[in-house]
């Protein structure tokens, strides 16, 4: 490239008259009351349609109204404001609508779970098991399932947290740019996508078929460990990367060896973030059902030992498997005691998970304030 651009012999060409561009700053715009007015009109027209024709249903009414409203706003905007504004309005409508479409099922699921579950929950429901309760009769509780879920999640965490944190330490502190670290990092992300049922089958093939153990709470924890490990590694990795390099260098400059720097400086600095990541990992595995179906089995009694597996009487229960078991006992009838117990357990499980998620956010926020 030449150092100095050649200066053109001719002066800068003035505007061609043929190229008409808007000199006016005021675009013709729809007044701000137009969109609500059009929507009101759409409601009225939809009402007429539903009254006069065989159209029916609340959901259908909402959809028809939305389509009418967006369609006529776009048309009106096209007529008044021109093509560009009309397209802009149409896509704005699409963006707002997709958010509504996403939010509706969430609200519906939470609403429906609370509606069906709240009636089942009381102190007794939370503190007794299903021992000697006929599934077709009311009564019984989920204490045994809560115990199982908490113990299995705790065991999985005890395995996944240290291994995950150490693996992340390797990836960030030792393995930067090394091919082995890149391979591990790649497979961490691929491992995140392993379906939970496959993790269950794997532990089944390894732990039960090959090593000859029986079903137990711990076997379930092993599968949960497989699912949790990549989540912990990824979360920790992100946190370690945020620790400023100056902090490490400052420690090295004082003659502190690398491993002590990691243990004394790097990990404590990132601790809150790591704890948040682990907590989110726990929240994720707590709702897993498929591997527990294969590996843990069900039991109506309280079994506090996750390693117990001598016979079917000593298996552990877990909340997700309890919900599924009660659902099958309900044989499709939403008004059976079993279905009510399923919803009660579902609400308890959601509450537990949201509690953990909230806790994780709280830790993250507190840490950010302090840092």
């Amino acid at each position: 490239m030449s150092a100095l651009p050649p200066i053109p012999a001719h002066p800068v060409t003035p505007a061609q008259p043929g190229l008409a561009l808007p000199a006016a700053l005021t675009g013709r715009r729809l007044p701000s009351w137009a969109p609500p007015a059009v929507t009101a009109g759409a409601v009225a027209v939809a009402g007429l349609l539903f009254a006069a024709t065989p159209l029916q249903g609340r959901a259908g009414f909402v959809v028809v109204t939305a389509l009418l409203s967006v369609g006529s706003q776009t048309a009106l905007s096209f007529a008044v404001e021109g093509r560009r504004r009309a397209v802009d309005r149409m896509f704005s409508a699409f963006v707002y609508a997709s958010f509504a479409v996403a939010a509706v099922p969430l609200v519906l699921i939470l609403w429906y779970t609370v509606l069906r579950g709240i009636g089942a929950i009381n102190l007794r429901f939370l503190t007794v098991s299903m021992f000697r309760v006929n599934p077709d009769n009311p009564g019984g509780g989920i204490y045994h399932a809560i115990v199982g879920t908490l113990e299995q999640a705790a065991l999985a965490t005890l395995m996944a947290a240290p291994i995950g944190v150490l693996a992340a330490v390797y990836l960030v502190e030792y393995g930067r740019r090394q091919p082995f670290a890149r391979a591990v990092s790649f497979f961490v992300d691929v491992m995140t996508g392993v379906p939970s049922i496959v993790a269950g089958l794997f532990i089944y093939a390894l732990w039960i078929l090959t090593l000859g153990f029986q079903k137990s709470g711990f076997a379930g924890s092993l599968a949960l460990f497989i699912l949790m490990l990549p989540v912990v590694i990824r979360a920790t990795e992100e946190m370690l990367k945020l620790v400023p390099a100056e902090l490490r260098e400052a420690a090295y400059a004082l003659g502190v060896p690398k491993w002590r720097t990691i243990l004394r400086v790097v990990l404590p600095t990132a601790l809150a973030g790591i704890v948040t990541g682990i907590t989110l990992g726990v929240a994720r595995i707590m709702g897993e059902t498929a591997p527990l179906l294969l590996l843990v089995g069900t039991n109506s009694r309280i079994e506090t030992n996750p390693f117990a597996s001598t016979d079917a009487q000593r298996l552990q229960e877990a909340l997700p498997t309890f919900i599924y078991e009660q659902f099958r006992d309900a044989v499709g009838n939403p008004d059976t005691p079993a279905a009510q117990r399923a919803w009660g357990a579902a609400l308890t499980l959601i509450a537990l998970i949201m509690l953990l998620t909230g806790l994780a956010r709280l830790i993250a926020r507190l840490a950010r304030v302090r840092g």
């Binding site: 249903g57 959901a59 259908g60 560009r84 802009d88 896509f91 704005s92 707002y96 997709s98 958010f99 996403a102 099922p105 969430l106 519906l108 699921i109 429906y112 240290p162 693996a167 330490v169 390797y170 393995g175 082995f180 391979a183 591990v184 790649f186 497979f187 961490v188 992300d189 691929v190 491992m191 996508g193 392993v194 379906p195 049922i197 496959v198 089958l201 089944y204 093939a205 390894l206 490990l229 590694i233 400059a253 003659g255 060896p257 491993w259 002590r260 243990l263 994720r284 709702g287 897993e288 059902t289 498929a290 294969l294 919900i323 599924y324 659902f327 499980l349 959601i350 949201m354 956010r361």
Partner: protein, 323 residues
């Protein structure tokens, strides 16, 4: 200040180097071992599924890939993954078709449309969907969604029945325990992951690109089309693929909603179907040794498919990062 100290410290390090490097060697070895667990686990999943399923598949008297039936307990075992594969693909494809555009819309909403104060909270709200366990999605789909979309599916059958895919044949009860219902529930389930990854991609769009578009007089949508979508395209694709991976392997929601049927039919609204994962969940408890082997074989297929899908997504993401 440090400059004067460093030499003395260096000397100290030199005299105590052996003990320091021993500590470092141990710590490094421990962390490498932890990292190796990931590779070992991934390899072990493949190895154990293969060695535990191959003997069973050998006993299959028909073609494992093209047979629809799943009857490993018969005297002459007949089982194959054709029906499983078909419904797994159909339900996941439906989920993608519904979820991806909505997820992109949600991501655009939280990054470029919602008022700043609102957007963090709204993003959190959608992320809450990810925290709901799959078994609860299943219950909701079975007890709430299926009965409540009968009006829609009857309407579809009447007006769009000519397409074939949403047509109720005679003698068919519209109970909606169908591929369509399962696909819709899967769509709701993968929406949070697709939208949160897409949101992160959109957040990384350089501010100066956005401003460049606005400064030449782009409307908000034109700015998105000019600066945001070209930048985020591969990120959106990989988010969608990751969502697909989730949908393919989803177990309980599908097992609860989809009435088991080992058939292949294009009538999406008619009840009945079976996926890899739901078949495992439904059959494992009564399975014989051979039956377990057969289920492990189908699990291996599912593992291979999701592995391929996730591999593709990760390669795409990594290429993007390096570019």
């Amino acid at each position: 200040m440090t400059a004067t100290r460093v030499p003395r410290r260096d000397h100290a390090v030199a005299t105590r180097r052996s003990s320091f490097s021993a500590g470092d060697r141990v710590f490094r070895a421990v962390s490498v071992t932890a990292a190796t667990v990931v590779l070992v686990a991934m390899a072990a999943i493949a190895v154990f599924l293969v060695i535990r399923s191959v003997p069973a598949i050998r006993q299959d008297t028909t073609n494992f890939l093209t047979t629809r039936a799943w009857l490993p307990e018969e005297a002459r075992p007949i089982f194959g993954i054709a029906a499983l594969l078909f419904h797994t693909v159909v339900t996941s494809a439906l989920a993608m078709i519904i979820a991806v555009p909505v997820a992109v819309g949600v991501a655009l909403f939280t990054t470029f449309y919602a008022p700043r104060r609102l957007s963090a909270g709204l993003g959190y709200l959608v992320d809450l969907l990810a925290a709901v366990p799959s078994v609860i999605y299943g219950l909701w789909g079975f007890f709430f969604l299926a009965p409540n979309i009968t009006g829609l599916t009857l309407w579809l059958s009447r007006w769009l029945g000519w397409t074939g895919i949403v047509h109720y044949r005679l003698n068919n009860t519209p109970n909606n325990l169908s591929d369509l219902t399962a696909g819709v529930v899967l769509a709701i389930m993968i929406l949070p992951i697709v939208s949160s990854i897409t949101r992160e991609v959109f957040r990384q769009v350089p501010r100066d690109q956005v401003e460049a578009a606005l400064a030449i007089g782009a409307t908000r949508w034109e700015m998105i089309r000019t600066a945001v979508l070209p930048f985020g395209r591969s990120g959106v694709v990989s988010a969608a693929i990751l969502g697909l991976g989730r949908a393919l392997g989803e177990t309980l929601a599908v097992a609860i909603i989809l009435a088991p049927a080992y058939t292949i039919s294009v009538h999406l609204t008619e009840g009945g179907g079976i996926t890899f994962a739901s078949n495992i969940a439904l059959k494992y408890s009564e399975a014989s040794e051979l039956g377990i082997g057969a289920l492990l074989g189908s699990g291996l297929c599912l593992f291979a498919i999701t592995l391929g899908v996730n591999f593709g997504a990760q390669l795409l993401i990594r290429r993007r990062k390096e570019a």
